[in-house]
């Protein structure tokens, strides 16, 4: 996987910030040749990751830092993609406990991790020594959708 260029967004842990991030992600996905469906999937996964940080990492406090880095990458079979890092300074949790729930249990909540797992090609949670959580995710342009 070779990196080419990256964009970093620094936002406060306020749900009002989410449309700004969605707009940036959507624009970058279009530039990288993502189809409409995959661009929406990427945007949704990042949105869900940020929502989880706001709700669980920071317990809803709206003034805490979240850094999002979007990096264009080239993956398997030369497919272009976008790697995402979501870094926060909130509560640390054991990555092994971060799992999507049983969807047969129809109820509100707990769907964000399932969406990330379903939509992204790669994802990995870790606990950096300096505190907080780091989520790394990658989504590649779907086969046949690469442009240029």
């Amino acid at each position: 996987m070779s990196e080419t260029s990256s964009v970093e967004l620094n936002i406060a842990s306020n749900a009002k910030s989410l449309p700004v991030v969605r707009g940036a992600v959507e624009r970058m996905a279009a530039m990288e040749g993502f189809c409409e469906k995959d661009a929406h999937g990427l945007m949704l996964a990042i949105d869900e990751a940020l929502a989880n940080v706001i709700r669980h990492g920071y317990d809803g406090r709206p003034d805490q830092p979240i850094a999002i880095r979007l990096t264009t990458v080239t993956g398997p079979n030369e497919r272009p993609g976008i790697a995402v890092e979501v870094r926060d300074k909130g509560r640390q949790v054991d990555p092994a406990t971060i799992q999507g729930r049983d969807l047969d249990d129809v109820r509100a909540g707990g769907l964000g991790v399932h969406i990330i797992r379903t939509v992204m090609d790669e994802y990995d949670y870790s606990c950096p020594p300096a505190g907080g959580m780091l989520l790394r995710m990658v989504k590649y342009v779907g086969p046949g959708n690469a442009q240029g």
Partner: protein, 116 residues
């Protein structure tokens, strides 16, 4: 219901047996709590049928889907029926990813929703 500045509810039409609620805007973490409160208030009127028009909802996240699950449960608790219609591909895909498309009644048009 008092009109609220940031409400996603654009219009409410009440008729015998049905209440149609037209939503407009992104149903995301920022807007879902207020929408939840408003829809719960509407469900409290116990309309036999609650039809939600999502044609002007460009985006919905899991908090929005969760809001609709909770309202659905309230409507079902008094044997009412809740139907969604007018979903664009993006919004529909969120229901599909979360497998909630099998839980809700989803129609293309208001006419179809009214006939379910």
């Amino acid at each position: 219901m008092a009109e609220k500045q940031n409400s996603l509810i654009k219009e409410i039409r009440r008729s015998d047996g049905a209440t149609v609620v037209v939503l407009a805007g992104d149903v995301d973490l920022h807007h879902s709590p207020e929408l939840h409160a408003e829809l719960v208030e509407l469900a409290g009127e116990r309309p036999p049928r609650l039809l939600l028009d999502l044609a002007e909802v460009p985006y919905m996240d899991s908090s929005g889907v969760g809001t609709l699950v909770e309202v659905f449960r309230r409507v079902s608790s008094y044997k009412g029926k809740m139907v969604l219609f007018g979903l664009n591909d993006r919004v529909r895909s969120v229901f599909e990813i979360t497998k909630l498309d099998r839980f809700f009644t989803i129609c293309e048009t208001e006419e179809q929703a009214a006939e379910t």
